[in-house]
């Protein structure tokens, strides 16, 4: 726990900078609100204010800086505003027994988690299968590997609407599957690369040892390559699940617009409610943190059971 102090310090610094930034970011909004409430602001014309630099506005209207910390639609909300919005749409609703109401971020987080997990499962299976094929077949290695890299340079967002249309054409309804496909697309790559590294990590000497026992290919895979790849697997799974979450949210951003955290971000953007965007963003961050932490714990437990120091 000695490591906690520096982390907390840095976090505190970030929050402090954030608070300090709220004043200049929101001064224009604060002055607009004050003006509409009938207050004297400098300059009085809204248009004139937009031509003034921010620092001038702050110097000329110091009494309204504080107002920037409590706007309904701030350009930059304060951490407390984000926190309370987050609480209102999660904890408070849960306390009222409406945790899975459509207005609750728990519900939307669950939708996002759902596709993320499907995408993760699909991506992991694809990545592992690809890695095994690459390690065991030279043709696959030579032909697939460059394309795996190229595949990651394709802007997947562009494919999202087509994936939705195509999957509905083959009879898949709903958004879960298309989102899962997008998230699998981003997730498979780190798993593939990590597993190729992992499956190839046994040295020639370790492979030779099995030769001297005249072990079969399957035995070599189960007893050597697979266990040797475990540390790599977990490292790439952690990257993979983060990528899967990015994929789901990207999939929900322009196309979903129905449910899920990405949809909340989009709807928050459409209706000009920044607090909703920030709350959804933080919910996504928390989700990512939980997922990666869970995998990390699994990694520690597994590697410990396997006798490899984590």
């Amino acid at each position: 726990m000695r490591g906690l102090l520096p982390i907390l310090t840095v976090l505190a610094a970030i929050v402090a900078i954030w608070y300090a930034a709220v004043a200049p970011m929101n001064i224009r909004g604060a002055l607009d609100v004050a003006e509409r409430a009938g207050a004297e602001v400098m300059p009085t014309e809204s248009l004139a204010r937009f031509e003034r630099p921010i620092w001038r506005l702050m110097v000329d209207n110091p009494q309204y800086i504080a107002l920037g910390y409590s706007l309904d639609r701030p350009r930059l909300p304060t951490p407390v505003q984000v926190g309370s919005e987050l609480w209102k749409t999660t904890g408070e609703m849960a306390l009222n027994g409406r945790a899975f109401s459509k207005r609750s971020l728990i519900y939307h987080g669950w939708i996002t988690l759902h596709s993320t997990l499907w995408g993760f499962a699909l991506g992991t299976v694809l990545g592992m299968a690809g890695a095994i094929a690459i390690v065991y077949s030279r043709v696959v290695d030579m032909s697939l590997m460059p394309w795996a890299i190229i595949s990651q340079t394709v802007p997947i967002v562009a494919l999202a609407p087509m994936i939705i249309v195509l999957s509905s054409q083959v009879g898949i309804e709903g958004r879960t599957v298309p989102k899962a496909i997008i998230s699998a697309y981003l997730c498979y790559f780190p798993v593939l690369v990590g597993m190729v590294k992992g499956l190839r990590s046994p040295g020639a000497a370790q492979l030779d040892l099995l030769q001297t026992y005249s072990a079969s290919g399957l035995q070599a895979f189960l007893k050597l390559r697979l266990p040797a790849s475990m540390p790599y697997l977990f490292t790439s799974l952690k990257i993979g699940i983060a990528a899967a979450l990015v994929g789901t949210i990207v999939g929900e951003l322009p196309t979903g617009a129905i449910s899920g955290l990405g949809a909340r971000i989009l709807i928050g953007d459409q209706f000009g409610t920044p607090l909703a965007i920030w709350a959804a963003l933080f919910a996504a961050a928390i989700l990512a943190g939980v997922l990666v932490t869970l995998l990390d714990l699994t990694q520690r437990a597994t590697l410990k059971r396997m006798g490899m120091q984590a």
């Binding site: 350009r75 030579m142 190229i150 087509m162 990207v250 951003l253 928050g268 996504a284 990666v292």
Partner: protein, 282 residues
Amino acid sequence: MSWLVFALAFWIGAWALNTYLANSRWRGSLFVRVLVPMLFGVTLIVLWEGIVRGLGVSPVILPAPSTVAQTFAASTDILWEDFRQTVLKGALSGFAIGVLAAFVTAILIDRSAFLTQGLLPIGNFVAALPIVGIAPILVSWFGFDWQSKAAVVVVMVFFPVLVNTVQGLRETDAMQRDLMRTYAATYFDTLLKLRLPAALPFVFNGLKIATTLALIGAIVAEYFGSPTRGMGFRISTGVGSLSIDLVWAEIAVAAMAGTAFYGLVAWAEKRVTFWHPSHRRS
């Protein structure tokens, strides 16, 4: 139907040729190392063409590669304009700023073990977040033109590079550092002659991740508002007006730009970290 059969036949033929080449005695030669993946790519395209034609898939759902190629050739001026807007202005400038900022930050915080211990886990965490989600916020902060796209790219690129650089700066082994101490070397001597070179493989790791993120960030950000040009603009509006062939042409440009960018970084990596075990050839 005959298209499908042809595509399948081509696939089998190309696969057989590839299998032969990959196990032949020229498999190490540059020619074969390029030819095999090329053949694989061509096979994918032929299969795609065959399926689209064979099954009569509507061009507003999935255009055939030949159609895309025609559109590509006919719209080079639009594609070039979009490429300039999104890649050259948005992605590259954001990439440069983000990488530079991350690099400088890494070197600055590296002097303080305390800061490093505090920032590394946070940076690692942030690097795992779906940062694309901030695109709408940054578009509303920085306006519609490429500046907001660059801002999204800066934020997306910053953390992977920061984390990798900090990690790399700590990656020297004790003996290498002790050697510097025996020379009573100064901080800058050690930084310049030991820790920066030793960090380079890690820095490049971060750069490679950043290249793919940069393009995605710039394109997604255009969904939330843009001038009437840019690859994200064209892709998002193209779907609406059923110009799916133009969308695919843009996707092709993005893939080529991304691959070229990645290739450039990988090439630089090979040149600069030639000494690293993963690049040595013996």
